[in-house]
């Protein structure tokens, strides 16, 4: 556990405990930054069995701080997979029926090439020498992984938040390889407010003296304080005011009265500090910079002459979008504008807004209406694809 402790190199980054696919000099990854990444590797997990027709594959795209361990125990935290409520044997996304693939994104820190990985040119971690990674770069790498499995067309690509951005990018860049797409709680671009929050997080990391310009591993340090603050600020944006108040109110933490000091008097303070502390145990600070940047740079309409509908022109992919009423990071309007673009492109699209006070993070939680929508969408897509129940 806690493989990312200060002073050690990040073992999961180079030698992940999940399967890993390594691409040599003959297969570089073309990056939007204008360079080639080579060699590079993709760490992934799979669940279930690929059928003979290779038509039952579902690609799950993870969010900002997610990883490939979507439906099995996380080797770093020892906790269950991050979407086990949805994916597994007998679950809504039934791994007895579907072949589920989830890979760590490029720029991540759990085994796919990222800033914590060893740069073969120097023998040291890349740090900021890794070019900035975009959502499209992540998807391009995933596509190489899908090729490796010999899968022509994915039955479904799904994911929430940053994962949803990858889903949209997949559907736009490789429409013929995506039978159905399920982007949840996401947007076709990162809003100014969202970029602002990310910048706060990055500045917190970089203001930590232990960051050392990104070369903290070489100094035997990690910018834990800065990264924890970044996580605390971000975590607030994943919830909602109503949910926070419902959960914590103004309740005091293990005390009868205010202390007239700056200890964590309130439960919410204690909760956030805990969130920050546990996060630094499992995540690399530089990777956090790269992940947030990839989302900031995402603007699917801008990639298509400013017209989002053109990103989906002629698409035959079946779409289902989901948003949550209390999500202020990716409000329903963001999904609705994608729906309008898909309408204009003549695409098959469903769109569900789910009433909940649990904010952006609702997509990771046990939300019966979300599951009902996913179940209905996947079920009808499976019938259309000719997959047996």
């Amino acid at each position: 556990m806690a493989a990312l402790r200060a002073g050690k190199t990040n073992n999961e980054a180079d030698q992940p405990s999940s399967p890993v696919l390594r691409f040599g000099a003959d297969k570089p990854l073309k990056l939007d930054a204008g360079t080639l990444l080579s060699p590079f590797q993709i760490a992934y997990q799979t669940y279930g069995t690929l059928n003979d027709a290779r038509s039952n594959a579902i690609l799950v795209c993870h969010a900002l701080t997610g990883d490939q361990h979507v439906a099995s125990t996380n080797p770093v935290t020892g906790k269950p997979g991050w979407w086990e409520v949805l994916i597994g044997p007998g679950r809504i996304i039934d791994t007895n029926r579907f072949f589920v693939i989830c890979s760590n994104v490029i720029g991540g820190c759990l085994g796919s090439t990222g800033p914590a990985s060893t740069n073969p040119a120097t023998g040291k971690p890349y740090g900021l020498d890794l070019p900035v990674i975009t959502i499209r770069d992540m998807v391009r790498a995933q596509q190489m992984l899908i090729d490796h499995f010999g899968i022509e067309k994915l039955f479904c690509v799904l994911g929430g938040s940053m994962g949803g951005m990858q889903v949209l990018e997949w559907a736009s860049s490789y429409p013929e390889r995506v039978f159905s797409a399920l982007p949840i709680a996401t947007g076709a671009r990162h809003s100014s407010q969202n970029i602002a929050f990310h910048e706060v997080g990055r500045q917190a990391v970089m203001a930590d003296p232990d960051w050392h310009g990104g070369k903290y591993f070489e100094h035997g340090k990690r910018p834990e304080k800065g990264l924890a603050v970044a996580r605390m600020a971000a975590h607030i944006t994943y919830l909602s005011e109503a949910a926070l108040h419902r959960k914590f109110g103004r309740n005091l933490q293990d005390r009868e009265a205010l202390t007239f000091g700056f200890d964590a008097d309130f439960q919410i303070e204690s909760y956030l500090r805990h969130q920050g502390m546990t996060f630094v145990d499992r995540f690399d600070a530089n990777s956090y910079l790269y992940m947030t940047r990839s989302m900031d740079y995402f603007d699917l309409a801008a990639d298509h002459g400013g017209r989002l509908a053109d990103a989906f022109a002629g698409t035959k992919t079946r779409f289902c979008l989901v948003s949550f009423t209390s999500d202020w990071l990716f409000p329903t309007e963001e999904s609705r504008s994608i729906v309008h673009a898909l309408n204009a492109a003549g695409a098959s699209v469903s769109f569900v807004e789910i009433e909940t006070d649990r904010g952006h993070d609702a997509f990771l939680l046990d939300e019966p209406e979300l599951f009902a929508a996913i179940n209905g969408f996947i079920g009808s897509a499976a019938r259309a694809r000719g997959l047996s129940a």
Partner: protein, 205 residues
């Protein structure tokens, strides 16, 4: 947004107007009954637009391709002639701008199918004439102050609107209170008096 208390006897009439494998947009798809009927019996490529979030969530959970949206606002996002048929079933009278909505239907679909309750039905006339009160019938169960039906029309009114919009009536059917088709040979005034509901198949002239 199917705002009608009846058993939707018009659904089968609508379904019979649509050939198999058509591309269909159902505006005001409600709980998805029509889309499901069309998918099961006609294997159509069906999409829905529905105002109530509950209706949409139910539809999607049933595997139908439906989005939340407002017929008054969201039709503009659909491309010209994107569908073979656009259906507006029991919804016209609840829109804010029925003329604009009908115009949009004719733009989006090669053909439009519109069904609506006929405010010229004799029971409605009788209620106003005898009681002097806004009619509340089994078919139209709302009081005047809480009805979502803000733009009622009669069959004659609707025919006039079609003329104004340059739409050709390719087929029209009136249903009596029992949901039975009223004989084709009957004149408009007869339909307008005895038809409880009407179903029109339209095409831009």
């Amino acid at each position: 947004m199917s705002v009608n208390g009846s058993q939707r006897v018009d659904l089968e009439v609508v379904a019979n107007l649509i050939p198999p494998q058509s591309r269909v947009l159902d505006v005001g798809s409600g709980d998805g009954s029509l889309l499901e009927l069309l998918q099961d019996t006609k294997q159509v490529d069906g999409r829905g637009l529905e105002l109530s979030q509950r209706g949409v969530n139910e539809c999607v959970a049933r595997g139908l391709s439906v989005i939340q949206g407002d017929a008054d606002k969201d039709l503009e996002f659909y491309p010209d002639k994107g569908f073979d048929f656009v259906v507006l079933s029991q919804t016209l009278q609840a829109t804010r701008n029925p003329k604009l909505v009908l115009d949009e239907l004719l733009r989006i679909g090669n053909r439009a199918i519109v069904s609506f309750p006929n405010f010229g039905h004799w029971r409605v006339r009788l209620s106003l004439f005898v009681k002097g009160r806004m009619p509340v019938t089994q078919d139209l169960p709302y009081s005047w102050y809480d009805t979502p039906n803000i733009h009622f029309c009669t069959i004659r009114d609707f025919v006039n609107l079609c003329e104004e919009l340059g739409a050709t009536v390719e087929k029209a059917t009136a249903l009596d209170a029992a949901g039975q088709k009223i004989g084709l040979s009957m004149p408009w005034w007869f339909w307008n008096f005895f038809g409880q509901q009407a179903v029109f198949l339209l095409k831009r002239s």
